[in-house]
Amino acid sequence: MAQVSMTVNGKAVSGEIDPRTLLVQYLRETLRLTGTHVGCDTSQCGACVVHLDGEAVKSCTVLALQCEGAHVLTIEGLANGSELHPMQAAFREHHGLQCGFCTPGMIMTAVDMVQRLGNELADKTIREELEGNLCRCTGYHNIVKSIAAGARDMAAAPMKQAAE
């Protein structure tokens, strides 16, 4: 067993873990933050995307021990209290989700996309940037629409950086 401590959604957490524990397993099984999902075992689907020190990562491909001292933001920490993050609101407004399983990863990827590429995202850019996120329900059409709208809304309503 090994000791790990990190900040998750603004809260300090620490504990003993099996050294092979993946970040996604630590989030889901130990912290019971089950909004981050596991959809594959080859780092392809993106259902497990979280932000690690402000950058999107696939939490199935990071050992929890590698996050020692890091700040982790999951889908549960994205909203500002009861006020949805503009990207969350845009997914609902534009029907960017159906079964909801890929959605947390999609939203975390989308927020990262805006942080890197700005608020005016061309559809083609969004589609290319979604290479690492699979959705089986929506045909991506409304996800692309949601992200373009959410990106603009993020400019219009700059949220205080969610608890990180």
């Binding site: 099996d18 092979r20 889901r28 933050l33 089950t34 909004g35 981050t36 999902h37 596991v38 959809g39 594959c40 075992d41 080859t42 392809q44 689907c45 259902a47 999951t74 889908i75 549960e76 994205l78 909203a79 949805l84 969350q88 609101a89 997914f91 609902r92 407004e93 029907h95 989700l97 159906q98 079964c99 909801g100 399983f101 890929c102 959605t103 947390p104 939203i107 559809d123 969004i126 589609r127 290319e128 979604l130 290479e131 996120n133 699979l134 959705c135 089986r136 329900c137 929506t138 045909g139 991506y140 059409h141 409304n142 996800i143 692309v144």
Partner: protein
């Protein structure tokens, strides 16, 4: 529209979304039970082998391990005792009996939850390890030593029936499940004898892996005080699972088995079926008196979830000198895999060949279907289930026939469209309503067909090929009239059930046997209630997915939740209004016949006396104004709905592709869908269903294919090797609708869940073949395949 824009036809944002966008969804794997153990399955690495022995000693001794079970252990319990009998727990069943042409019943090979002496596909279930943690269970499973006698395997659909092939199930000759036929052979032969032209095509409908993003999960629990079981599982139809697990597997009597399917992350058919892991987790929970949880990883999902499609077909179309269709002749070999999955037998028969008339008036049809066993994963319903296969046959034939005859493919289709309703086809179905030409007109307009020649010239100037392809599909949804499916071999009725509970405070719970795993029922079903009762939508809660809460249900598949599930709700709502009138009549001291229910109010005709819906609900429970002998207190009504016919959604999809002949890279430049789903409750949600279906259809046509190598190994068993459609593979989708109301249900709905997956594949392939100028390409039309085909088109002598 009633109730503040939240009734029928409104684009209401989904009520269920809040939990999904905030990470508060509750999927089965998010659930953990006190004292829970974890299961890991040891699966066969061989496609076909005899199990000589299984040594579990080392696994049993590994850290954290509570138990290791093999197929010899999974036996029935002595009633009211923890001892085991000598009798095995029942195997997994196939619930639809198909009879061969000679009258003999289909040959169903035994399907034990854990293999006893033979494994029949890579991934077949050999043993299960149950341990304190998942990692301990996985580690221990690697310590099990199995001595296999490897046997020859058969994987090829077309060759499975050939003499000399290995037998998948000993004693089932030529690996043949059934040899089935439909239609009129003599009339069809006569039609071909007098044909002016015959078009003949050979097709493979590629095998697919459904791949909902949420892998399957099962948590079995046993309560020794009550002798009762609970199964949390990723199911599209928890009541059907309960029925099968109790009546056939015999795990528990129906009243002592609760099945809960909470949020489910997509299904597409693959979560209709009862799987071995559910049986084993329930059985082990009883044996160990601890909850037992199993979560599939993606590799297991590829190996063991039921696959879809996998047909090899020869089809012929006979036309007369005036280009009218005289007859259709089809022979299909359908691969059902190593075992018959829950509804496998119905897919290539009654869900397939009954749709071979397409949108066309075809006087004579004869179809033969031979279903085969192979050493591959079971094959069952996947989005569309039989209807995509039928549409691919019909719409490829129509396109190729038009090209052979030098006709405009649109004009050829139009000439043969069914134009009067009802229309009886030669293959059972009675089309009740439609306007196929209206959809075609709208599709051509939205697709800007007129601008295609200019776009083709622009492509040519860049050295690219451009093609346009059509698909005029029909499907039979709203499965199904119980009487009809019963006469065709279904083991169950396919009605739906609903209960409407109005609480004293006036808010409403609707309990439905339909199950939402992405379709948005919590919104659309609430819209119906809002419309009918004139109440705000946020006073309505839709309850589904729990056999302890919802009285009965047949679940969600075959685009049935609107046409069948909502019709049951509609019927229950009528009873609520009728009871409400009685209550209001007592309260307002009026005659019941004078009461009208409009805009959420019970109004005494010709007076200003009225009672709001919520006030009426309170009075129904207060019951001070009436005594129990003349009117029962309370406001709760149930209904079962059994339709009188299937529904027949239909439409036209148009695909435009651009091909780079130097690389074979094919871009879907435009995709247009015009569908007639009858009346629509929430257009936003319906469009979303169409988008998703198209993505799966384009995936089948251009990207996806499950491949077993000759030895029987699945070589496309991860997202690294199986090409799922990604955002960059798909274009903006142009979606339109036409409406003819369905006459066989009170809402006029037809169903929208499968249309895209049904219509898109032939539209894409027709576009690619139009661009290439020849018909020689199979699905999936990958860049490598298109590059070869483009090369053949330019250098006919240099084929391959």
């Amino acid at each position: 529209m009633a109730a503040n824009g939240t009734g029928i036809g409104a684009r209401v944002p989904r009520l269920e979304d809040k939990r999904f966008i905030t990470g508060r969804g509750r999927y089965t794997d998010d659930i953990n039970r006190d004292g829970q153990l974890h299961a890991s399955f040891l699966r066969s690495p061989h496609p076909h082998a005899r199990i000589r022995s299984v040594d579990v000693a080392a696994a049993k001794a590994a850290p954290g391990v509570e138990a290791v079970y093999t197929g010899r252990d999974i036996r029935k319990f002595v009633p009211t005792s923890d001892d085991l009998t000598e009798e095995d727990v029942g195997g997994l069943i196939c619930g639809w009996m198909i009879h061969s042409k000679d009258g003999s019943p289909m040959k169903a090979g035994a399907h034990p939850a854990l293999a006893k002496d033979t494994v029949r596909y890579v991934g077949d279930h050999v043993a299960v390890v149950i341990a304190a943690t998942l990692r301990q269970a996985q580690d221990a499973a690697e310590l099990i030593a199995v001595d296999y006698e490897v046997l020859p395997a058969v994987v090829d659909t077309a060759r499975a029936r050939e003499p000399g092939q290995p037998e998948v199930h000993a004693g089932i000759a030529n690996n043949t499940v059934y040899e089935w036929e439909i239609g009129n052979k003599a009339e069809t032969e006569a039609a071909f004898a007098r044909a002016a032209h015959v078009t003949r095509i050979d097709l493979t409908n590629n095998r697919l892996v459904p791949n909902p993003m949420e892998p399957r999960v099962a948590i079995g629990e046993f309560d020794p005080g009550e002798d009762s079981f609970t199964l949390h599982t990723t199911s599209q139809n928890p009541h059907v699972a309960r029925l099968i697990l109790s009546a056939f597997v015999g795990i528990a009597p129906e009243h002592k088995l609760r099945v809960v399917a909470p949020d489910v992350g997509g299904g597409f058919g693959s979560k209709i079926f009862v799987y071995a892991e559910e049986v084993v987790c329930l059985w082990a929970a009883r044996r160990l008196k601890r909850p037992v949880k199993w979560t599939s990883d993606r590799s297991e999902a590829f190996l063991c979830d039921a696959h879809g499609r996998d047909h090899v077909t020869r089809a012929e179309l006979a036309t007369d000198a005036d280009h009218r269709i005289l007859g259709l002749r089809v022979h299909t070999t359908a691969n059902l895999g190593a075992y018959l999955s829950t509804f496998a037998s119905s897919v290539p028969t009654y869900l397939y060949a009954t749709l071979l008339s397409g949108q066309y008036a075809i006087p004579a049809i004869h179809a033969e279907v031979d279903a085969v066993y192979t050493n591959t994963a079971p094959v069952d319903a996947y989005r569309g289930a039989g209807r995509p296969e039928a549409t691919f046959v019909v719409e490829r034939l129509m396109e190729v026939a038009a090209r052979e005859l030098g006709l405009d493919p649109v004009a050829f289709r139009r000439k043969n469209f069914v134009t009067t309703f009802p229309h009886q086809t030669p293959v059972i179905m009675n089309y009740d309503a439609g306007d196929y030409d209206a959809a075609m007109r709208k599709a051509l307009e939205l697709a800007d067909q007129g601008g295609f020649p200019d776009r083709k010239r622009e492509s040519q100037a860049k050295g690219r090929l451009r093609g346009l392809g059509y698909s005029a599909y029909i499907e039979a949804c709203g499965i199904a009239p119980s009487q009809a499916v019963g006469s065709l071999g279904a083991g169950v009725g396919l009605w739906e059930s609903a209960e409407v509970r109005v609480n004293p405070t006036g808010n409403i719970e609707v309990l439905t046997g339909s199950h939402s795993h992405g379709q948005g029922h919590e919104t659309t079903f609430a819209q119906l209630v809002s419309e009918r009762l004139g109440v705000p939508i946020d006073t309505v809660k839709i309850v589904h997915g729990d056999t302890d809460k919802v009285q009965f249900g047949m679940g969600t598949y075959g685009s049935r939740s609107g046409a069948v599930g909502m019709s049951a709700i509609s019927k229950a709502l009528e009873k609520i209004v009728a009871k409400g009138k009685k209550v209001a009549a007592h309260v307002r001291e009026a005659s019941e016949s004078d009461l009208e229910f409009t805009d959420g109010k019970f109004q005494v005709a010709g007076t200003d006396k009225a009672l709001g819906f919520a006030e009426m609900a309170l009075q129904a429970y207060v019951a001070h104004k009436f005594n129990g002998s003349e009117l029962e207190p309370g406001l709760k009504e149930g209904a079962f709905w059994d339709p009188t016919n299937f529904t027949f959604p239909a439409g036209v999809h148009v695909c435009e592709v651009e091909i780079d002949p130097e690389t074979g890279v094919t871009t879907v430049a435009r995709f247009t869908a015009v569908d007639d789903f009858g009346n629509v409750i929430n257009p936003m949600i319906v469009e979303g269903q169409v988008h998703g279906g198209i993505a799966q259809g384009v995936g089948q046509a251009m990207l996806e294919g499950a491949r077993y190598d000759e030895s029987g190994q699945l070589v496309t068993a991860s997202f690294m090797d199986y090409a799922m459609p990604r955002a960059g593979d798909l274009p903006h989708l142009e979606v339109g609708m036409t409406v003819t109301a369905c006459p066989s249900n009170p809402l006029g709905m037809k169903g929208c869940g499968e249309a895209g997956a049904i219509a898109a594949p032939p539209a894409v392939i027709n576009a690619i073949t139009d661009a290439l100028g020849h018909e020689d390409i199979a699905m999936p039309a990958t860049p490598a395949a298109v590059w070869k085909a483009a090369r053949r088109a330019r250098l006919p002598m240099a084929a391959e």
